[in-house]
Symmetry: C2
Subunit: 306 residues, 2 copies
Amino acid sequence: MAKKFIISIDLGGTNLKVALLDLNCQIKDKEVLSTRSFLEKDDLILGIVHSVNRFIKYNNLNKAQILGVGLGLPGPIDAKNGIVHFFPNIPGWKEVKLRDILRKNLGLSVFIDNDAKLMSLAEFKMGAAKGFNNILCMTLGTGIGGGLIINSRLYRGFNNAAGEIGHLPINENGPDCNCGSSGCLEAYVGNNRIIAEAKKAFKRDISLEELSRLADKHNRIAMDVWNKAGRHLGFALAGVVNLLNLDAIVIGGGVAKAGNVLFDSIIKTLKNQAMSVQAKRVKILKAKLGNEAGLIGGAIMVKEGL
Amino acid sequence: MAKKFIISIDLGGTNLKVALLDLNCQIKDKEVLSTRSFLEKDDLILGIVHSVNRFIKYNNLNKAQILGVGLGLPGPIDAKNGIVHFFPNIPGWKEVKLRDILRKNLGLSVFIDNDAKLMSLAEFKMGAAKGFNNILCMTLGTGIGGGLIINSRLYRGFNNAAGEIGHLPINENGPDCNCGSSGCLEAYVGNNRIIAEAKKAFKRDISLEELSRLADKHNRIAMDVWNKAGRHLGFALAGVVNLLNLDAIVIGGGVAKAGNVLFDSIIKTLKNQAMSVQAKRVKILKAKLGNEAGLIGGAIMVKEGL
């Protein structure tokens, strides 16, 4: 019998990543396209279809060898019915039956879910949180994504919207948040907020990369900015740990590259704020799978038929 | 075959409730003792043993008719190994193997767990949250207890400490909390805190019962106190709902008797603060089983061998 493969797609606001994986969820081939080169929703769907077909052809495969196609998508998804509710950062998508459209166009099994959920699944099955059972995975970026593993299973909540750790509020009179409310964690530690804090501290424009480099060299001002971000994160996570008695929290995304100063600050605040039983058990871990977590998670979803 | 029964015990800082229930978890007989009449740990254990034996004798039962004994206890419990870690409000208990002690003394199956978890189980199986799948149950009192039902099962977390909604922090520079940290929900809406707020507003001592009665009669000052408590609760619950995409939150305990003014304020704040998808789905419900929730939950634990 011919060997089987999975095609996994990770759609972001900037990049559209497509990969071929074996049934061990190892990436065998990969391409990265620019999301913005597809102007309209239908172009983007066609781009995905063409990319999948190219992968099959150039790898000398036939469709019977493809177990399925898994897509991680940047917005709220009805995974059960295969519907994209909308994308906050890609216009033109509203209640799109993407799974059925792709199934019809590809003649393959298709599974779709939210990207943060797939990253969580990947870190749980093959990354930093392997061997743990109750886990929060979070990605720090412009927005803060999150996913929960509860009793060793991806936890979706009532309508697949669970995991929004970025919108756990941490101050009743806090700053406005992109979600329309105020005081949310994301309003304190989203990329733009950290860049603004750094600009204020350095009295000039400064990128996150430079801010991380400076902190690595023990620049006091840069370290203060990351320390402060870590305190907000640790405070929010203490509440989550008290509520969920997690055994691990995995942190990834661009900001997580700030390194030890950020992680030390998170851990110190969390251990200080959380209740002793809960604080003692939880491990704070750096994500292991980096940019490929979404692709790997998409393949796991297909493999396990989640 | 003789009919079977369950004996359930709900230990609180004030009362020790003991009940006989049938296998439908209906209470057939009940007694309430004063916890404080048992001065030492060993007296309390002996009191429980005597009470169980009395129930069996006076109801003309034999031990073979008792499926098991379930205990709900006011503190952190290792349910799996049957160990009481400690009781915050009853001195003298530290790492007590209560399940084994009672098994040996009674010659019956014994199950023990935290009281808030058993209340949650009861409200889920037979109370306000029947038919829902992902639920937070909370009891408002001197302390704030909580329990989570996730995917229709009692969720315990890594070491049975999940559910501590009272220690979800809501302000980074908030007041000190009994748990040793600060800014926790309980530091804003624990009974003593609400009584202190009311005293300040009315410029005299006032009980929670009077505060509720006055609010019922639309007394503006009393309503303001409850409104404020409801805003703190709604703010904290918005974060939980964003994170867990729950379908129901059940609120019980003494303070919940404040009635509509409190619930209206909770719901208004929560709907305002939470994300639209999550806010739309979640129902805020009053607990149905009142003081008997713990006893019923204890019986469910025995019946289902949880």
